[in-house]
Symmetry: C2
Subunit: 551 residues, 2 copies
Amino acid sequence: MAKTALRVIPLGGLGEIGRNMMLIEYGDDIIVVDVGLMFPEEEMLGVDLVIPDFTYLREHANKLRAVFLTHGHEDHVGALPYFFREFKCPVYSSKLTDGLIRVKLAEHRQLAQAELHVVAPGEAVQAGVFEVEFFPVAHSIPDACGLIIRTPLGPIVHTGDFKLDHTPVMDQHTDLIRLAQIGAEGCLLLCADSTYAEQEGYTPSEQLVGEALRNILVNAKGRVIVATFASLISRVQQVVDAAVFTNRKVFVTGRSMIDNVAMARQLGYLNAPDGVIVGVEEMRNTAPSKLVVVTTGSQGEPTSALTRMANGDHRHITIQQGDTIVMSATAIPGNEQAVYRNVDNLFRLGAEVLYNRVSNIHVRGHASREELKIIQGLLQPEYFLPIHGEYRHLVVHSRLAESVGVPKGNAFVLTDGDVLEIDEDEARVAGKVPASYVYVDGTGIGDVDQQILRDRTHLSTDGVVVVMVAVDKQTGKLTRAPEILSRGFVDVEEREDLLERSRAKVADCFKGAEHYAEFGDINGRIRDALSKFLYDETRRRPMVLTVTVEV
Amino acid sequence: MAKTALRVIPLGGLGEIGRNMMLIEYGDDIIVVDVGLMFPEEEMLGVDLVIPDFTYLREHANKLRAVFLTHGHEDHVGALPYFFREFKCPVYSSKLTDGLIRVKLAEHRQLAQAELHVVAPGEAVQAGVFEVEFFPVAHSIPDACGLIIRTPLGPIVHTGDFKLDHTPVMDQHTDLIRLAQIGAEGCLLLCADSTYAEQEGYTPSEQLVGEALRNILVNAKGRVIVATFASLISRVQQVVDAAVFTNRKVFVTGRSMIDNVAMARQLGYLNAPDGVIVGVEEMRNTAPSKLVVVTTGSQGEPTSALTRMANGDHRHITIQQGDTIVMSATAIPGNEQAVYRNVDNLFRLGAEVLYNRVSNIHVRGHASREELKIIQGLLQPEYFLPIHGEYRHLVVHSRLAESVGVPKGNAFVLTDGDVLEIDEDEARVAGKVPASYVYVDGTGIGDVDQQILRDRTHLSTDGVVVVMVAVDKQTGKLTRAPEILSRGFVDVEEREDLLERSRAKVADCFKGAEHYAEFGDINGRIRDALSKFLYDETRRRPMVLTVTVEV
C-alpha cells in the first residue's frame, strides 16, 4: 500500500500580493490557513475584489476540518464571507483577529451561523490529524500570529506576515524561543513571508516612528493630521501617546478608522486616558495647536477622509495654512499616483506635508533579509516554501534560504495551485489544482471572465460606436438612414461630418444586392467596413456594435 | 510710460512630469525653451500623448523669435512635430539633440521646412532682444545643455535636466566655472530641475554603473542581456566597453535602440571597435558566454524587445537558463507594474534577473539635494523658479533655495500657465495664460475632452448595454420585442435570464399610454428604468444606450 503523503497547496499569494490562502492535506483531513482577498490590478477593469479559487476545496469539502487565521488584514481574512457561502467549519484566530472578522461577518449577515474560536498564543488546537499551535509575531497589526502545524511527518512552521522588532509598541515580539525549540526538535517545512525578501538589512523598529511622531507633535505650531492604515492600531496608539505627552486632543475620522478604534478600545488594544479622544463638537472648540487628527486615506482611496480633505470637501475639516499632514504609511504598489495626488493637493492648500520620502514616519511590517536569515537559522528546516510575494520575491527568498543552509533543491518556488507533496523520503511538486483569479464585481462572483475584461479594455481605449439599421427583409434595402450613436470616441458635435460620412459608409454596405439573403452576415459586414473607415479617419479603434432590424 | 517687464511663462512641466515648455517674453519678443510631450496618466484612457497648450503663443505668434532645446529626451522635444504644424521659427540645439530631432521630424515629413541650427557649448545666439548661450550639463543623454539667457534685466539661468557627476562617462561635466562667472556677474533668475529635490545627498556617478556592468560581464557564465533607455547612449557605451574588456560581442535589438545606436555611432557619440557590434547571423554563431545583448524595454513597454523576450515571442532571442538580464534603468512612476511583470516572467523562464532593488546597475540623471544647493551657491540668484516636477517637488525645492540664501518670498512655486513678471523693482505672479492638457489620440489633437474621458472611464468599469426599440409612431406601442446587446457587462450566455427580464423592463416603459407623444423623452425613460433594474440585480452600472426607431 502506498504511504500517505502530506500535501501543501497554496491557492493564492504566490506571484501576487494578496488573497493569501493555503491548504494542508493529509489523508482524509484538510485544514486551511488564511482566506484572503486581493485588490484588483490595473488591468482588471471594474473588478471590485479578487478571491482565491475554491474549486479543489469544493471537490473535497468532506475533508475540511478547520480554518486558521494568522492575523486580521484583508489579504488574510477578506475572502471569508465568500468562503462561508459554500463551506462550514470552525475558524480559529487570536482575539483581535476574531474581533475584526466578527465585524465583517456581521456586515454580511453571516455571524449567527459562523463557528468562531479565540485561541491564545501558545495554545494548540486539534483538527483531524493536525495539531495547530499559535505563536506571536511582530507585524503591523496587534495579535498577529504564526502557526506551528504538527503533522504525521513532522512540524510545519507558517510565519504568517511578520518582522522582528525588539522594541515593538504593544510588546508583541516574534517568539524566537519557541521557534528555536521547534528547530531543535526538527522542522519539516518552513513557509515564510517573502514580501520584503529584496530588502537588505533589518526593518526598523516601530519605536523610531513613535519618536518621530512625538517630535512632530512637539514642534508643530498648528494642527497635526496623521493618516495611516485603519488596521494599524499600534500606530494609533503611538499617536495617542504623543498627544497625551503634548497635551493635545485626538479626533478620529474615516469610517473604518472610527470602527477599528472603537473595537480596539473595547477589546483593550488601544489605551487612551478619558477625554483625550474627542467628538466633533469638542474638536471644533479646541485650538489647532492642541489638536491631532487620525484619519484614513493613506492609500489615496477616492472616498476616504484624507482624500476629501485634500479635495476641500471633508465635512468637518478644512485644510489651512499651519496644518501639518503626516503620511504615516507607504504607498502600496499601484496606489502611488493616488497617494501623491493627495500630497500635491494638500501642499496646494498651504499645508506642510510630511511623507516617507522626506521623513521617517513609517516602518514596514515585514521582515527584511537579515531577519529572514535569523528565522532560517533558528528553524533549520528540511524543506522551504517561500510564500506571500511576487514571483521575484519568492525566487530571491529561496536563494537566501539556500545560502544559509537549506539543502540545494529543497527550496520550492511555486505558483498558486501547485501541490507540494512531502513523504518520508522526499518532497516534490506533484500536479496542480485550479487556482484562477476569481473576480468579484458587484454581486457577481466569478462571472467576470477574460472576455469581459478584454471588452472593457477595448471600450476604455477608444469608446463605443453603435449602429442601427432598418432593412426591408425582402429587398434588402435600407428603409431609413442608419442611426449612429457614440460615447467616448469623438466629440460628435465637433465631428458631425464624420458621423455623416459614417452613415454613408454603412449605407454602402447595402449596395449591389437584390435580396437581403445575399448579404450573409450583414452585421459583420457593417462592423468591418465602419471600423476600417473610422480607423483610417481617426487612427482610433472604437468598439463598433450593430443592430439590424428587419421590417 | 510703463516700463517693460520680463515675463516668464512655464506652459508645462510644473505639477507634472513631462511636456516641459517655457516662454520668455520681453516687449515684442518671445523665445521658447523646450517643446516636450508627456505620456498619459492612468486615468487618461486611450490617450496616446499629452502636449502643451499653444493658445497663448498662437495669439502672439508674431512675437515668436526662436526655440531653444536643452536636450533630446521626449519630455523636452517630443511635441515639436505638433508645434511645427502651426509655428515657424529657427530651432537651436546641440549636435546630438539636433540629430535626434532630425530623425523625428523626418518621420513626420517636416524636416524639409524646418530651420535647424547646431550650437556648440559656449556659443551664444541672438533672438530678438535675448542672447542665449548654451552650457554643458551632465545628464542621462549626451550633449545635454543648460541655457544662459541674457535679458535687458539681467541673465536667466535655465538648468535643463542635470546632475553633477565628477566622473561622467563621456567627459561631459556640468560647467560649474561658467555658472560661477554668471553668479559673480549677478543672476537675475534661476530656473532649476526639481525632479529629485526630495532626494537627500548626491546622485551617484555613472562610473559606479560602469564598474557594476563590468563585474557582471566578467562573472556571468552565459549570455548577458542589458535593458536600458534607447536615449541613454552613455550606458550603451559602458556596455560596449565592458564587452570589449571581456571579449564579448554586442547584439543590439529593439527599433529605437537600433536607430539611436546607428545615429550615435555616425555622429561620433558611441565608440565601438570594428567587429564588436554584430548582426543576427553572427549573434547566432556566438557562444552565449561571449555575447551581450543591448535591448529596449526597460519600462515594460508592451511591444518592446525585452517584453517580447519575457513573453517568449522575440524573433531572435529565446530566454534560457544561464541568461543574466540586467535592468539598467528605474521604473518611471506609472510603469512599475509593467516593469515588474517582465522581471517576474524572466525569472519564470529560468533567467537570473538583476534589477535596481537587488543591484546597483542604474543611477539617475537628476541632481539630488546637495547638488541643488551647490548650484544655488554658485549662482546666488535674486529670484528662483523651481521647474520640472510634481507640485511637491517644486515646494521642497523652493524651501531648499530659501534655506541656502534666496530671499524669503523670492522663490516662486507656480503651476503651468502662471505668468512670472519681473521688473527692476520686484517679481510677481501676474495672471495666467491657458495651459490645459492637450490630448493627442490617433490623429486627433485636442479633440478628446473631459466628457470623452469620463465616458471611457464609465465604459471601462461596467461595460455597455445597448437597447433598440421599434415603436409605432401613432399608438406608441412596441412593434416587436426590444433588442438588447451588451459588452463588458455580464456573460450573456450565462445570464440569458437577466436579458430576458431586461427586455420585459424595457417593454414596461411603454405601458399606460395611448399615444407616442405622451411618453416625452422615451429614451431617457428606458435608460433610467433599465439602469436601475440592472444595478438592483447586479450592483453594476453599465452605460445604457438606447435607440428608438419609429415605424
